[in-house]
Symmetry: C2
Subunit: 145 residues, 2 copies
DNA sequence: CAAGCACTTTACGTTAACGTCAACCTCGTC
DNA sequence: GACGAGGTTGACGTTAACGTAAAGTGCTTG
């Protein structure tokens, strides 16, 4: 989590219909402000599976969405393994057996519990930030001006 | 983030007045379900500064609160360095000069922006979990109950 | 007093998530 | 045909956040 207050460089990841576009690794990298290395790494970890055109990787809508979800998961502190767990099961769903699906439901419940906890954490953290903020301003004011 | 749906073992970190208690490293560790090693590591990283009684570390209320805040920060994906940044500046506040305080305010704003972003991420993530959940149940049903 | 338990320091090991080369293709173009 | 801008595969390096094992200290308890 080294993201500073960066507003939004590069051609923002979500824009218009976007239809059936294809992307090179560099394009995707700029869109999401990550390095190509990162994207290749995610592929190696089983989170992406772009098609090839000769040697080059060709990314399509599906891949872009996956990358987006992956990065969102990361911002929420999920590990790549956890993210893959959901993403892969999601793909395996259509022909999944009952046990697999039950397992998926469990995982989902777990993630959701996690999110709820984070919401509470955010609430508390906010209050503390407010508190510190108040004190800091107070001291500043008492410092003349 | 390997926390499962663990309800709350050990003597929960927050209970009553708690007044002026002191804690050993082991007690604190059980309270928050971390290892003593973790607590020592946080100290080494400048996040805690317990007093000593001979060789042993003695933790007081202040330390317990700090540990609590630290772990909360971690659950939100902050690095120990980021957490220290705020915690230490908070302590240096009373006699802080204007520049330091301004810097602190900036950092706070940054963290807050981060939290807001996470709120949005959680919202989106929730929707997606709901979606996957729905589909899974659908498939399950179509599998002959 | 030996045993056990909780604590201590020191130091090396481990895992995740990339960064950083090096060495190589493959275009379009000057 | 040299060249620069992208792309590719290794393979090794790095950082954060601990884990783990070794070896020692100090109390209290049978």
């Amino acid at each position: 989590m080294t993201q500073s207050t960066t507003p939004d460089k590069a051609s923002s990841p979500d824009a218009l219909p976007r239809q059936h576009r294809q992307y090179t690794i560099g394009e995707l990298a700029r869109m999401f402000e990550v390095t190509p290395r990162t994207i290749r790494f995610y592929e190696q970890e089983g989170l992406l599976a772009p098609r090839r055109e000769g040697q080059k990787r060709i990314y399509r809508e599906k891949d872009r969405v996956r990358l987006k979800l992956t990065l969102r998961g990361k911002r929420l502190g999920f590990s790549l393994a956890e993210i893959r767990e959901v993403v892969m099961m999601y793909d395996a769903m259509p022909d999944g057996n009952a046990r697999q699906l039950q397992r998926l439901l469990e995982i989902l419940a777990d993630k959701r519990a996690n999110l709820e906890r984070q919401l509470e954490d955010i609430r508390l953290m906010r209050m503390e930030l407010d508190d510190v903020d108040d004190r800091a301003r107070e001291v500043l004011r008492s410092l003349g001006h």
